[in-house]
């Protein structure tokens, strides 16, 4: 039985405790490595071929396992997609954590800090993020519902900041915060598509522009725009 809440960190087999502690540690580590390996390779193949066109055989070949052995880790191909999407969501959920000083700050400061945290993650797991973003709708209804709830939490956080900014008088009160949050997230997500780390523009500089767009776009005071300085 595949546990709904399971993410990439805990393969099901790792939960069966072997007898000795040393043996347990070794087995857990092995299973986790194997599981991570399977999920990562599945992500790479989904990225290249598309989820629908990928077979479990393709994944088994890529990991160097017999197809039958994969069933030790998963029941269906969808389990792998769910693991990928969950892992991407776990990663981006970490951006909701603010340090105390930021949490007490004015909305434009919090918004800029959030965009910075998000963009810092964009360079990692690029392929995964894309697979999660473009294939999540292939998940079963129950899982899809969970995935969408988690997406809503993320955009809820940005909406709260926008509302705070409106209350503080920094942002335009006629803003529809759902629309503004969508625009900000979609703008950030486009970086996956075209940004090349080898190019002249760093992700941090790009994030800085996104923050300027968001804050100025919301009618935020110009003194919150940092004047860019060449490093």
């Amino acid at each position: 039985m595949v546990n709904e809440a399971r993410t990439t960190a805990t393969p099901p087999a790792a939960r069966r405790p072997p007898r000795r502690a040393s043996e347990r540690r070794r087995r857990v580590a092995n299973h986790e490595d194997r599981w991570t390996d399977i999920v990562e390779r599945a992500g790479a193949i989904f990225y290249r071929k598309g989820y629908e066109a990928t077979s479990l055989q393709d994944i088994a070949d890529s990991v160097g396992m017999l197809k039958g052995s994969i069933y030790y880790y998963i029941k269906t191909k969808e389990d792998l997609l769910y693991a990928l999407v969950s892992r991407a969501q776990d990663m981006f959920e970490a951006t909701l954590e603010e340090d105390e000083e930021t949490a007490r700050s004015a909305a434009p400061v919090r918004l800029r800090a959030f965009i910075g945290r998000w963009m810092a993650l964009t360079s990692r797991e690029r392929e995964w993020g894309l697979v999660a973003e473009r294939e999540f709708m292939r998940l079963s209804k129950r899982r899809l519902k969970r995935v969408i709830e988690r997406r809503d939490e993320l955009s809820g956080y940005v909406k709260d900041i926008i509302r705070q900014g409106i209350d503080e008088g920094a942002f335009d009160p006629s803003t529809d915060e759902s629309v503004a949050a969508t625009a900000i997230f979609e703008l950030m997500k486009t970086s996956h598509l075209w940004h090349r780390p080898s190019g002249p523009l760093s992700l941090a500089e790009l994030g800085d522009w996104y923050a300027t767009f968001a804050i100025r776009g919301l009618g935020g005071p110009r003194w919150h725009d940092r004047t860019p300085v060449r490093p």
Binding site: Y51, M137, V179, L193, F213, G219, D225
Partner: protein, 218 residues
């Protein structure tokens, strides 16, 4: 897709008879690509949506790429008009109502060609060298036009004006793509007013709204 310039030769009777099957397949392509994306879509998805057989599909198209190329050409034909539209967005010469109107046109285009846009995004993602040259020209003209506007607005940033211009286009496209997807919680009708104000202030030098003193009730 009636009256499409790439429809089969009307003199070819065997094809003319099945014109609607062909259009159904093209419509299916648009629907399926927009829902599951281009990479993820299979010929099975397409024939299921068009309620036809594999054999029929392969009578008209060699593969899904060929079907896509046809949808894509139709989309870029329509896009030329929008390019002119977006080119009108010049600093100091346009207000938020006009931007809203342009966004409305963009939304129509997006609805008509949702599958192409989504597929095209994925192709960009992999820098497919086969994206037709003509499509590239349309996009370049669009970015050139917007770059002039962005330069006029003189927003201070390390991001070059042409990149800002391309991002403006991506912002509009990605936002419409997101709100018209089946999983969106945002009503597409609500997008234009807020997005128009954000674009106006950031890209076209629109001023921040006058802040009336607001009574804050705690």
């Amino acid at each position: 897709m009636t009256g499409h310039p790439f429809d089969p030769d009307p003199m070819d009777a065997s094809l003319t008879d099945n014109r609607d099957v062909r259009s159904r397949l093209l419509e299916a392509g648009n629907a399926v690509f927009s829902e599951v994306g281009y990479t993820g879509a299979t010929v099975d998805d397409l024939i299921e949506h068009a309620a036809t057989s594999r054999a029929t599909f392969y009578r008209y198209f060699r593969n899904k790429d060929e079907l896509f190329d046809e949808l894509s050409r139709a989309c870029f034909q329509d896009m030329k008009a929008i390019v002119e539209d977006l080119g009108r967005m010049r600093a100091g010469e346009i207000d938020t109502d006009e931007i809203e109107e342009i966004l409305g046109h963009y939304r129509d285009l997006h609805t008509r060609h949702a599958g192409v846009f989504r597929a095209w995004w994925e192709r960009v993602a992999r820098l497919d060298p086969e994206v037709p040259v003509e499509e590239g020209h349309v996009f370049n003209r669009l970015v050139e036009g917007l770059t002039r506007s962005v330069s006029d607005a003189r927003v201070e940033s390390l991001v070059a004006p042409e990149v800002q211009a391309a991002l403006l286009y991506l912002l509009i496209e990605a936002s419409y793509s997101a709100v018209t997807s089946r999983w969106s919680r945002v009503d597409p009708d609500t997008l234009a007013p807020t997005l128009a104000r954000m674009v106006h202030r950031t890209y076209l030098g629109g001023d921040a709204p006058r802040r009336a003193s607001r009574l804050r009730v705690v």
